[in-house]
Amino acid sequence: MERLRETDFWAGFLCMAVGGVALLLLADTRMGTMAAMGPGFMPVWLARILIGIGAVVALFSRSSGPLTLDARVLRPLVLLIGGIVLYALALRPAGFALTSFALLLLAAAAGRGVRWLEALIVAALGSAAATVLFISILKINLPVWPS
């Protein structure tokens, strides 16, 4: 067996968890037979295999050391992922231009040592350029302004 690392306990755990959730979701799906496979056949077997691999990875990991999460990771994680979610929420009601502007600004805030003036200029120029490119030239079907 290959030598596995400490994080591997959690890696194995993740595989087992995902496989378990899949099996739960597939509980009512028909398996069928080998000659006439039902919709459940492939996914159920894949989930079982995933759980199996997860178990092996977790068992052979050296220790179950705690998973340390650097607190500095949280700020960009929350801001960037939150930015995407916000973009999705605001795109239709607030229009393309303002939403793109907000996303660029929010993303810039995720970095360390934010320079606000620079971020504002980049966001303004960037959203204007994106509006011209995607709405005017490529004709993506989206409102530019709030309606």
Partner: protein, 499 residues
């Protein structure tokens, strides 16, 4: 063979001014749009389809073909520069191409990608001219059984190309397969793992998954590392490959071309495998396989050549059988039918000028791509000198727009957020996203063919080893796996001896 003679006639057709213009226009638009993530050739061709009404069928098809390989090439540019794979084929280009870019060698990666693509395009054009009919005969002997075996080989290839633990790569492949089956079952319409969300009824798109796992996760990693200056800390290397680079890349380009040409002919979607297969082969035969993934030029050259060759030879089933191998080819069939031309076995006799003109224009189009792109290489490479704190919000915005534009669906943006987090978690746990993405791409094909193979054989699994082509393919998979396991076994034993 008369194929080459006809190809010369085709060249005459392709050099007609209107066709030259169509070819150039297609290649240019394709390149520009291909660079934008999400907006792949399918979207571009759909947008431009009305334009082709005003062209005759030959010029129309030449232009659409130009967009197709232009976008293919543009996609690699985004993959190399900012780790955004807009197409399944550019996932592999990310692995070494992006690493080269980070070391200041973006120009070389882009140039070798252009040169490799050009070479592959030239060879594939000649192959199409000479071998179309016999290749089709081979491709047609592929039934669901052979495709199942081929997909399995592809998945083994994906595990082999991972850098870390084979077991964890296996887990990622299985996870990718599992995720690809979310949605409505294609045979009987049962909904699977959709959490009751209508937006998941049709499954998750490739672009969302790839953008999340590669693009968003990469931004998170870079912002997190606190390095908000330029992405390239070292100074930019000369954009042109040195003689040594070319010497390293040349054999890889040759092998990539061969692999891509062969897989592209398969109408069941073999072209998807071409870049993965080419990379896996390079890694397998390399003297230092551990260097792959750290920015080796062969890791860019081989998949790029394979990808372009496959893109080209995938025209063979479309033009000779009327059977589209992928969504782009389906669009081309549609475009031809709009012009009253039905692609099929009679096309080559009924419309020789169209058939050979299009094939000749492929070579021409590749030349134009080289002409369009080589001057841009230096410019693109310079883009990376822009401070990262300025660059990454733009990349994030491009990801969001690209993902949205695929289906015009806001839900895909929520999925992007989910896959961004997943990509981050997987990276933290030392999982590689590459095998996951290939599993995701091949999952539906594997399921479809496996089910069909079993239905046709009444559930008799022995068909996989009794049919010769399938048996050979599976044997290759087993050998590949065994070879990959061996070094690990060897290392393990060495360690044991030391202790």
């Amino acid at each position: 063979m008369s194929g080459l003679g006809s190809l010369l006639d085709g060249l005459a057709t392709a050099f007609a001014p209107i066709n030259l213009l169509a070819c150039f226009g297609g290649a240019l638009v394709g390149t520009l749009i291909g660079v934008l993530p999400g907006l792949g050739p399918v979207a571009t061709i759909s947008i431009l389809l009305p334009v082709t009404y005003y062209l005759d069928p030959t010029a129309a098809l030449i232009m659409l073909a130009g967009i197709y390989y232009g976008a293919q090439y543009g996609g690699s540019t985004a993959a190399i520069l900012v780790n955004l794979p807009g197409e399944a084929s550019s996932v592999v280009t990310c692995l070494d191409g992006y690493q080269m870019a980070r070391q200041g060698r973006a120009g070389k990666a882009l140039a070798i990608s252009a040169i490799g693509s050009f070479f592959a395009g030239c060879v594939a054009t000649i192959l199409i001219a000479i071998f179309s009919p016999p290749l089709i005969a081979v491709a047609q002997s592929f039934s669901a059984v052979e495709y199942t075996s081929l997909m399995s080989l592809g998945l083994v290839g994906a595990m082999v190309l991972a850098r870390g633990s084979l077991l964890k790569a296996f887990a990622m492949t299985v996870l990718g397969l599992l995720l690809s089956l979310v949605g409505t079952d294609p045979e009987v319409g049962t909904r699977r793992m959709t959490l009751g969300l209508p937006d998941l009824y049709d499954g998750m798109g490739f672009v969302v998954v790839a953008m999340g796992l590669f693009g968003i996760a990469e931004i998170l990693r870079n912002v997190d590392s606190g390095d908000t200056r330029a992405l390239v800390s070292a100074k930019l290397d000369r954009p042109w490959p040195t003689r040594r680079d070319l010497r390293d890349a040349a054999p890889a380009i040759g092998r990539g071309t061969a692999v891509g040409s062969l897989l592209g002919v398969l109408p069941g979607g073999g072209a998807i495998l071409s870049s993965f297969a080419a990379y896996a082969i390079e890694k397998r035969i390399a003297r230092h396989p551990e260097r792959f993934g750290t920015g080796v030029i062969e890791g860019v050259a081989a998949p790029e050549a394979a990808n372009n060759a496959g893109a080209q030879t995938s025209f063979i089933p479309m033009l000779t059988l009327g059977i589209p191998a992928n969504a782009v080819m389906a669009l081309m069939v549609g475009a031809l039918m709009l012009h009253g031309v039905t692609p099929g076995p009679t096309l080559i006799d009924e419309k020789p000028e169209l058939f050979w003109g299009v094939i000749a224009s492929m070579w021409l189009g590749n030349l134009m791509l080289l002409v369009i792109n080589l001057p841009l290489v230096g410019l693109w490479a310079r883009l990376l000198l822009v401070p990262y704190r300025v660059l990454f919000p733009g990349i994030l915005l491009l990801c969001c727009i690209g993902v949205y534009s695929v289906n015009n669906n806001v839900f895909d943006l929520y999925l992007l957020a989910v896959f961004g987090v997943l990509g981050f978690v997987l990276a933290a746990l030392d999982f590689e996203p590459g095998p996951l993405v290939l599993g995701f791409v091949l999952g539906p094909l594997l399921e479809e063919n496996f089910r069909r193979a079993m239905a046709l054989s009444d559930g008799d699994g022995s068909v996989f080893v009794t049919r010769p082509i399938s048996a050979v393919v599976l044997a290759i998979a087993v050998v590949l796996l065994a070879f990959t396991l061996m070094p690990a076994v060897r290392r393990q034993r060495e360690l044991a001896f030391k202790e």
